[in-house]
């Protein structure tokens, strides 16, 4: 079994890759996937801490895992709504390229 530092490193790496995707890619669906990846990377951190922060009884701290459970639930809802928005957006603008979606310019 690997050490906590290794888990955290992997988690950070995944997060960084997700962030790079968000910054580089222009397809809004892929950006959305990268966001999901970043969320999951954060989940990995939580679970890792849960496992290595054992309580008095020696068992993992399950509060962390409950939080991950909530995150996944909310992420599912988020994906559903987000994709619905993307569909609506595509219907209105016929594009999923964020370069073309600049109507919020001040």
């Amino acid at each position: 079994m690997a050490s906590l530092q290794e888990y955290l490193f992997i988690s950070g790496l995944l997060f960084a890759i997700g962030l790079a995707g968000v910054l580089i890619r222009r397809n809004i669906i892929v950006i959305f996937m990268c966001l999901e990846l970043m969320l999951s990377a954060a989940n990995l951190t939580l679970v890792a801490f849960s496992r290595f922060n054992t309580g008095e009884n020696g068992l993992p701290d399950y509060n962390g895992q409950v939080l991950v459970f909530f995150i996944i639930t909310v992420a599912a809802a988020e994906v559903a709504v987000g994709l619905a928005i993307i569909v609506a957006l595509y219907r209105a603008r016929q594009t999923v390229d964020v370069k073309d979606l600049t109507s919020m310019r001040g």
Partner: protein, 612 residues
């Protein structure tokens, strides 16, 4: 009974004014009856009160914790005498106005104004404390504003009314400070509580007391039109002539003198000792001299009388300021006699103006003696009283003032003698030019005797002008009277000198103006200065332009530009500038935001973890 009568005397004119203004706008004739009725009633009450005992009635007007402002009536010799003057002249002027204002559309408003004036003047006379006096002081100025501006459609009348109010306000500025300072010094506003307190405090801080008294005198300066605040009074002649007679000759302008004497009477003569009294006396003396000089070159009959009023007021103020043993009483005595004969002169001039179809220039009159003999005779009586010809009323009072001046301040005495020379001179000029010789204008040629309702007040006033000065009458009616301690014998130097002054004045007037059609002195450069009133108005105009208006313009500019534009506008602009900057940052580019967001996180991590 006494209480009820006194309060009725105060409030009746107010009720009359309120009823006229609120209910009887359209019914002018009823309004006039109510107004005349109210003043007649107050005159009767004033007569009834003559026999009453002294007392003070007060009610609380405003309370603040332990502090009260009171409204009170003080009934004593001083106020009783003044009330006779005020209501007596008031009644006659009301009667005169009945005819004089018969044609005026707005006569309801006019009589309402007169009623307000009667109310305020009564208030001043009966005021038991300084705050109440200030209240009515302001009200009297307001009613004067209303009446001067009666013909407000004329620019000149509207301006004159405004000027009168503002000049009085300047005087009241000092008056209120003076009242407040005196309050601090004497510890009370009420006149009856002041007695004796002055002696103690004058010693301890005489400079401050002097300043306070001078500031109070500022009020008199405005109301009694002393130099340098005299400029409003001649302009006030824009009002209807009966108003000039009542307000600007007999009663209101005398309020300043009355107030000063009331202060002296309550707080003791000591309060005028020192530089305050001297200053007051000198201001009075100088006013009387300047006004007399200006009167010599006026062509408007009312303006001549107005300047003569100024001059006589200067006499009174000088007398009060002399702070001699009985000089104050002499001043009040002169106030009382002057009220009758100056009202007579003004009403007489009103009758003349009425007869001449509102012609006021004396050079366009002339020969009126043939056409309106009764008026001319009453006017002649008034003129003689003003000149102080023995034994008319003016003689007695003026002689007392000269006596007091001779006794206390010889320099002022000689100044007063010059005025006593000038007075007969300009009055002779007025009388000769306006009433004798031949008619020089249409109005004068068509003039005929005025209706009886105008003549009766003239008769009554001439009667008073003759008898008011005799000791038995004066004892009874004058607000303050002191038996002359000397006899007017040929051995008395004061009497001789004043007699000489009188003769010089009359004879030079006759010599210069008999049979003339224009003023022989008009070309003279010195007299031109008199004609132009020593350029006081022009000087004030410059002063107001420069100091009030220019400063106002500058301040307005600063307010608009510096505060409005630079500071506030700057704030607004910088806010919108920053807003614009942020607006530019809102590129609408999602990845731009994400980049900044990420950079922010990096920065925060750096700051929280590594930079410590």
């Amino acid at each position: 009974m006494l209480e009820l009568l006194s309060w009725t005397m105060l409030l009746l004119p107010l009720c009359s004014a309120a009823v006229i203004q609120l209910l009887l706008r359209e019914m002018a004739d009823t309004a006039i009856r109510i107004s005349v009725g109210s003043v007649a009633a107050t005159f009767v009450i004033a007569l009834l009160l003559l026999e009453s005992e002294d007392r003070t009635l007060t009610v609380q007007w405003a309370n603040a914790g332990s502090f009260h402002i009171e409204i009170g009536l003080i009934i004593d010799d001083l106020s009783r005498g003044m009330m006779i003057v005020v209501t007596g002249v008031g009644l006659l002027v009301h009667l005169f106005s009945l005819a004089y204002m018969k044609e005026d559309e707005a006569r309801g408003r006019y009589f309402a104004g007169l009623s307000i004036f009667m109310f305020s003047m009564t208030g001043i006379v009966l005021a038991s404390n300084f705050i109440m006096m200030f209240i009515f002081w302001e009200l009297v100025g307001f009613s004067s504003y209303l009446l001067i501006g009666h013909w407000f459609q004329k620019d000149s009348a509207a301006e004159a009314a405004k000027k009168a109010f503002l000049v009085n306000r300047i005087g009241d500025f000092g008056f209120m400070i003076g009242i407040l300072m005196l309050w601090g010094i004497l510890g009370t506003f009420a006149f009856r509580e002041m007695a004796g307190s002055a002696t103690v405090l004058v010693d301890s801080n005489s400079t401050l007391t002097g300043i306070a008294v001078l500031l109070v005198f500022c009020g008199a300066l405005g109301k009694s039109a002393q130099v340098p605040l005299h400029v409003w009074l001649p302009d006030a002649m824009e009002g209807p002539t009966p108003v000039s007679a009542l307000i600007h000759a007999a009663t209101m302008v005398a309020a300043g003198v009355y107030m000063l004497f009331r202060l002296q009477f309550s707080a003791g003569i000591e309060i005028f000792e020192g530089f305050a009294g001297t200053t007051i006396a000198w201001v009075g003396g100088i006013t009387s001299l300047l006004a007399a000089l200006m009167a010599t070159q006026q062509d408007d009959i009312k303006r001549v009388l107005a300047y003569s009023t100024l001059s006589q007021l200067g006499y009174m103020v000088m007398a009060v300021g002399l702070a001699g043993d009985h000089s104050g009483e002499a001043g009040m005595f002169h106030l009382y006699t002057h009220a009758w004969f100056k009202a007579l002169l003004f009403l007489g001039s009103g009758a003349v103006i009425y007869a001449c179809h509102h012609e006021q220039n004396i050079w366009k009159m002339g020969g009126l003696f043939q056409r309106m003999r009764k008026t001319t005779i009453t006017f002649a009586i008034g003129t003689a009283a003003l000149m102080a010809i023995y034994p008319l009323s003016g003689f007695w009072s003026k002689e007392q003032i000269l006596e007091a001046a001779h006794h206390d301040q010889p320099v002022l005495f000689w100044l007063a003698i010059i005025v006593a020379t000038l007075t007969p001179f300009y009055m002779t000029r007025l009388f000769i030019v306006a009433f004798l010789g031949k008619s020089r204008g249409h109005g004068a040629q068509e003039a005929k005797e005025v209706p009886p309702i105008m003549l009766y007040p003239l008769f009554a006033l001439s009667c008073m002008s003759v008898i008011a000065g005799f000791t038995p009458v004066a004892e009874k009616l004058s607000p303050a009277f002191h038996h002359p301690s000397h006899s007017f014998s040929p051995t008395n130097p004061v009497f001789l000198i004043s007699l000489a002054a009188l003769l010089i004045g009359i004879s030079s007037g006759i010599l210069l103006y008999r049979g003339r059609d224009s003023d022989p002195l008009a070309g003279n450069r010195l007299f031109k200065v008199f004609r132009n009133k020593f350029y006081f108005d022009e000087a004030y105009l410059v002063l107001v332009r420069v100091f009030q208006n220019a400063v106002a313009v500058v301040v307005h500019f600063l307010d608009d530009f510096v505060i409005g534009n630079l500071i506030v506008g700057g704030l607004v602009r910088s806010a919108s500038g920053v807003g614009n900057l942020f607006r530019k940052l809102q590129s609408g580019n999602l990845q731009g935001y994400a980049f900044l967001f990420g950079a922010g996180i990096i920065l925060i991590i750096y700051l929280t973890v590594f930079a410590r």
